[in-house]
């Protein structure tokens, strides 16, 4: 049954593509095998279903003249087909790598598209693999809501408030920044654009029937906002930290300069995100000694006091 339907739809598509003028329903029933008598209810039903299926893939023009003439049907070639995109072998390989990276529902959506664009390069494997969106269950429902312009609801833990509340958000973009996923959207609760970290969403994201009413701002880049959150110092600072030889690799990776001193190395590093640096120092707090600045020492001390406090 499915085969018959698909063959009839293929015939319909090819008939419409090869017609020099839009065709009436009677002309279509005459040329396309599989509809049966044009005046039958079954033929009308099949045609309505076929139109729906064709519309899922192509732009289907349907004229409904008021002068009593018959409706006509055509495929809008310009809107239905892509312009020729010349791609070389390397570009085709990049496309296949990009699509195969997806580890969530995207891959099902994109696989056929990627295969068509990539050709034989789709099958090539190389010394590079990439994985994106693994275990991110919020990706697919958020993407769907963004594409449908629908408001979403979810329970969200606020670090500043320390509690979990339901948020109604007009979703605009999905952002990946330093291994964390975020939703960028308009928070109806506070009437402001906001970023929501996926890991702080409790339970599932629920789609609603409410359409979004606020357009994404053109002058705000969510990645700039995220980078801005890292700026805890008023201006660039320089830290000097003493660490044992062959130790504190995490701090060495941040150092601009390593100076050998008596019994230890002294790391010199510029920083703008004192909070992040303090956390890195906390990882090796029993071996690293902050020589300067004092503000950085104080940040780490504050972390240590908090840790001692929560551990009673």
């Amino acid at each position: 049954m499915a085969v018959e339907n698909t063959l009839r739809q293929l015939n319909l598509l090819l008939v419409l593509l090869n017609a020099s003028v839009p065709l009436t329903r009677a002309q279509i029933f005459d040329r396309v095998a599989g509809y049966g008598p044009s005046d039958s209810e079954a033929a009308q039903r099949k045609f309505e279903r076929d139109k729906k299926d064709l519309r899922s893939l192509l732009v289907f023009d349907e004229s409904n003249p008021n002068d009593g003439a018959s409706d006509t049907y055509a495929i809008d070639r310009k809107k239905s087909f892509m312009p020729d995109v010349p791609l070389d072998g390397d570009e085709k390989f990049l496309i296949s790598l990009a699509i195969k990276a997806w580890r969530d529902a995207h891959i099902g959506q994109a696989a056929s598209a990627g295969a068509v664009l990539s050709g034989a390069q789709w099958l090539r494997s190389g010394p590079i693999q990439a994985a994106l969106g693994r275990d991110e269950r919020h990706l697919a429902p958020l993407e769907k809501s963004i594409l449908e312009n629908r408001v979403v609801e979810f329970a969200y833990f606020s670090r500043s408030g320390g509690d979990t509340k339901t948020r109604c958000v007009e979703p605009w973009k999905i952002v990946l920044h330093q291994a964390h996923w975020y939703l960028f959207g308009y928070d109806q609760t506070v009437d402001q654009p906001r970023l929501f970290r996926f890991a702080r969403i409790h339970g599932d994201v629920q789609g609603t029937d409410q359409e979004i009413s606020v357009a994404p701002p053109q002058d705000i880049d969510p990645l700039d906002l995220l980078r801005g959150f890292q700026r805890t110092e008023a201006h660039e600072e320089v830290a000097r930290i003493a660490v044992p030889f062959g130790d504190c690799a995490n701090l060495r990776l941040l150092a601009d300069e390593v100076v050998e001193s008596s019994g230890s190395d002294v790391l010199n590093m510029k920083y703008i995100d004192g909070y992040r640096l303090a956390r890195e120092i906390a990882l090796v707090c029993d071996r690293a000694i902050v020589l300067e600045p004092k503000s950085l020492t104080d940040r780490v001390t504050e972390i240590m006091n908090t840790v001692l406090q929560v551990h009673g």
Binding site: A2, L14, A101, W102, V116, A249, V300, M304, N305
Partner: protein, 307 residues
């Protein structure tokens, strides 16, 4: 077998663009069996306009020296690719932006040009996925890529996440694996005598060596990692759960706004470091020995940095 209209149309365009293509390739590209591809081809070949113009699609499947090939002579009126759905465009552009965010992994200029080309072909819509550049040292990635291409060794200074100690190793890289924003190099490690994955952002320095790798052929198995057999109970903010590999988590449940998590770890040194750096977002409930280790290390800081 259900023959899907979308796949049939895309396959026809694919066959037109790739004339005389192995049947096995089409099957792999469309995730179908060869028998299913034959059914699709048969139905495509059956497409016609009533009795007016004869067949619109000419497809032949022929056996040539044991390999089956599909040749496509005619796909009347369907010579261009049907536009992708919005979801497909999002996936392609999002995937390419992801590759673009990994410095040195692929040619950045090439991928930027490709993105522009495809975004134009897809109708210049705003991408709904944005990906920030990863903190990856492109110079180190380049050294690793060259070593893979030439099958040569690389000497690296590596900082182990477990204790932050720096070790020098000679590795034979075979694969670069990106997982979200983190890049790993899979390599034969001469010191460990087995295959290991190293985080590229933990490589302090890399030096290309003019030594051919010979361990890979012998490298049948991964380096044995110590068993994660230390059971700990933690209370944490839900987002901190991201810090632990899912397979190590035995149990997790909400306790108000916080989570109670039981997991098995390999090293208490690593765990206590994480607890200290969490600044109170992770609290050790038990065992007492791990709590004591956290307190001792925090006090060590305070004793060296008196107020």
């Amino acid at each position: 077998m259900a023959v899907r209209f979308e796949i049939a149309v895309r396959m026809l365009a694919y066959l037109k663009a790739n004339n005389y293509v192995p049947l096995a390739q089409v099957a792999q590209v469309f995730s179908l069996s060869e028998a299913q591809v034959r059914i699709y081809c048969s139905h495509l070949a059956d497409a016609h306009i009533g009795d007016y113009y004869g067949e619109l699609v000419e497809i032949e499947i022929e056996d040539d020296d044991g390999e089956v090939w599909i040749s496509t002579k005619e796909t009347l009126g369907l010579n261009q690719q049907v536009k992708f759905t919005t979801e497909q465009s999002v996936a392609i552009i999002g995937g390419l932006k992801y590759l673009e965010s990994l410095p040195g992994l692929v040619d950045q200029k090439q991928i930027s040009a490709l993105l522009m080309k495809l975004q134009h072909a897809f109708g210049d819509q705003d991408s709904i996925i944005e990906i920030g550049a990863s903190d990856i040292n492109a110079h180190i990635v380049e050294i690793l890529k060259q070593a893979i291409d030439l099958a040569k060794c690389v000497r690296i200074e590596y900082g182990a996440a477990i204790d932050q100690k720096v070790t020098t190793r000679v590795i034979e890289p075979v694969l670069l694996q990106a997982n979200e924003s983190v890049l790993y190099v899979r390599a034969y490690c001469q010191e460990s005598q087995g295959m290991r994955s190293f985080r590229v952002d933990r490589i302090l320095s890399a030096t290309a060596l003019d030594i051919s790798g010979d361990g890979r052929e012998a490298a049948g198995s991964d380096v044995q990692i110590a068993a994660a057999d230390i059971s700990v109970s933690l209370q944490m903010l839900p987002e901190m759960l991201e810090s632990f590999a899912p397979e190590t988590v035995i149990e997790s449940r909400f306790d108000g706004d916080l989570m109670l998590v039981t997991l098995n770890v390999t090293s208490t040194k690593w765990l206590t470091s994480l607890v200290l750096a969490s600044a109170g977002d992770i609290v050790v409930i038990k065992p007492e020995s791990v709590r004591a280790e956290v307190l001792a290390r925090a006090n060590a800081w305070l004793s060296k940095h008196p107020q």
